[in-house]
Subunit: 451 residues, 2 copies
Amino acid sequence: MNSKIITPRTLKGFRDYLPETMLPREQLIATAQKVYRSFGYTPIETPALEYLEILGGKGGEETDKQMYHFQDHGGREVGMRFDLTIPLARFVAQHQHELGLPFKRYHIAPVWRGENTQKGRYREFMQCDFDTIGTTSLVADIEVVLVIDVLLRAIGIEKFTICVNNRKILNGILEKFELEGKSVAILRVLDKLTKIGVEKVLKELTEVLAVESVAANEIVKLITLKGDRKAILESLSPLLAGNKTGESGLAELWELTDRALAAGVAEERLKVDVSIARGLDYYTGTIYETFLDDLPDIGSVCSGGRYDNLAGLYTKERLPGVGASLGLDRFLAAMEQLALLPNAKKSAQVFLVNFEENRLSDYLLLAKQLRDQGLAVEFFPETKKIGQQLKYADRNRFPVAIVAGESELCEGKCQVKDLKTGESHVVSLANEAKEVAEIAEKIIAMGKGIG
Amino acid sequence: MNSKIITPRTLKGFRDYLPETMLPREQLIATAQKVYRSFGYTPIETPALEYLEILGGKGGEETDKQMYHFQDHGGREVGMRFDLTIPLARFVAQHQHELGLPFKRYHIAPVWRGENTQKGRYREFMQCDFDTIGTTSLVADIEVVLVIDVLLRAIGIEKFTICVNNRKILNGILEKFELEGKSVAILRVLDKLTKIGVEKVLKELTEVLAVESVAANEIVKLITLKGDRKAILESLSPLLAGNKTGESGLAELWELTDRALAAGVAEERLKVDVSIARGLDYYTGTIYETFLDDLPDIGSVCSGGRYDNLAGLYTKERLPGVGASLGLDRFLAAMEQLALLPNAKKSAQVFLVNFEENRLSDYLLLAKQLRDQGLAVEFFPETKKIGQQLKYADRNRFPVAIVAGESELCEGKCQVKDLKTGESHVVSLANEAKEVAEIAEKIIAMGKGIG
């Protein structure tokens, strides 16, 4: 009827996930779910669309501008969520009495931002948040470090550094010099440290913001402290002496890191970094950033912090909390660069050749028997030439192919082929193909070991 | 700053998933992923937003009206996907040369439709589609039956019926009476059979559509055939004799059902039902619907069929395919009605009481040891009174609590409490808490056994 072809394409800033990318992405999500659950975080889901009033409530100009929003069929002003934090705030305010506090949740879902597209930035991306709401206990802060540590190792990353800081330390030093009134502007300048360097930061503080030279020097000295955990924490002590906010932040950092180490985090993976500030207005206590030692340039792959009052816009009840978020897509890109992604193009490891038309039921039964033993089996739907089918198996990187011609089936046997080495085993189909499954598994396991 | 409270609420037709619902939902998705993968279907993902031109291409008035669409920041007309089939068509047309054919994919993702909200219908819901593209082989049709059968049993459903039909049978009988020109109108009347009954269908066919009485009677006779698979297939034979389309559909139904039975589908779970027609214009061959024997009224929980040309709007290449979709949310509602959902409110099964402030590191280490042995452990973040903590554990339906006071820890021991029976075991913490984990696991397993 309509013969005009519509060019198939995705929107600018959006992308499709093909199986090769989607397989490790799904595995990563499953690992995150498992680790979050093992610490007692429970899953929730919220709608992609919310009242604009709810999403706009946060007041961040930048996010408001980037938000996808429109009028729905019922004339309601609606928006697509641009993070999982606002929906969490709305969710907890709405359901707090059903949920009970403390409430530990994780939420793995896509968010949308109409930002300018840059390298590696998309307008749709996945967030993997976990948070504990309703407690000021430092135990919840400590657990965030433990989760990040377990999660990264579960994914197969060994070389990473979890950097922690505490906003009270920065606030303390500003209080000490009576600079609280300028804190937002000062923090904004400090955030540029790695970009513009110490000299320019000092210049901006003193010349643009009129901070006294002594104060500016001490602030910069504080945020550029280098060394191991103990050395930094010990150096902070005199700088913050006499200021309650700063001392409390320092005490929290000591306890947080001590406990995390006692609970099994390796010393070399935990660092105190006073320069990290994250989301200037938002966080009030512990702050986390996580870097891959082999790829420091991609930035933090897992970040978060403690906030005093999550849901103040939606409820009068004060709901403190702490949590972090795994940057799934950034992480996937990193794993690709580190060659940590599996090589698979298909879900199944076993490819079953469709050879003899009148043996279809035998093939279907064999596939069933192998699946019953836990193997994933792709059966070719057409009885094409065996060479063509094996080419398909090879192109799609199956480690194992099973070939059963008429003569083999008559003898109650089949061939199990190692597609990497080309080696072939003739194996009995007896006992519900138990031996076939065993040999296939052995070949798959060997391939994993090598590749 | 802003002291006005925004009422926390979701949009009409949308909903939050609280942990109690989200836990089984996540489990259901994981099971579907596993089953789909075991047959060689690979995961893909496509954007929630697409060019309006792509989504509107299908031309269905109803879906066009329900689609959420708007102008984005760049002035593009965009829409939110309302199913996963159009995105699949666009995806395959766009990437077919990278993908290679045949291509088996699954896609589990939310879709949005601004429909009138009725009982149990939401404007955002999850689809779980699986399809094989690029082959006309009946093997792909047979596999759809096998997947549905394995999937439902993997979820824990034993009593279900997979109903199959073939559109060629209906087309054949219409051809026989030279009624092809009226096929859309006739199928629409036949679709009302269960609602309005045989008499009224006959009346509408003859009076409204001017179908001759002989033809109308024979059509209705055909779609109301009752009996077991063989009886129905045998009765169809004379009705379709001499019509090639009908005979080919009948032959396919014979082979499809024969092969599915040979491959292990139980006879009582597979039914031929000539009355199912599904999505009138869309399907061209096999059609599937699946009913839960204990809840026939909720309708089909897994439906699909074969189509001749998936992506005709986006490519000149002809891409036939076959697949089905699990109605996740309908399914969840059904499982709830059948009391098949687990009772959990939390991810973790083990609740660790936070008792002695100065034993925090011991608790964190114990939690780690139990997690290392595969247990999910929630550690209470505050050192509240033990009674309060156990109340929290009880309210959140933890099967096991671990209590370790100062005296127990001094002896290198802890208490493992069965929260259902109230029974308590004093257990050694030696060997990385191996014995603690064993007893906790035993209690959890017993709770599962009882229900």
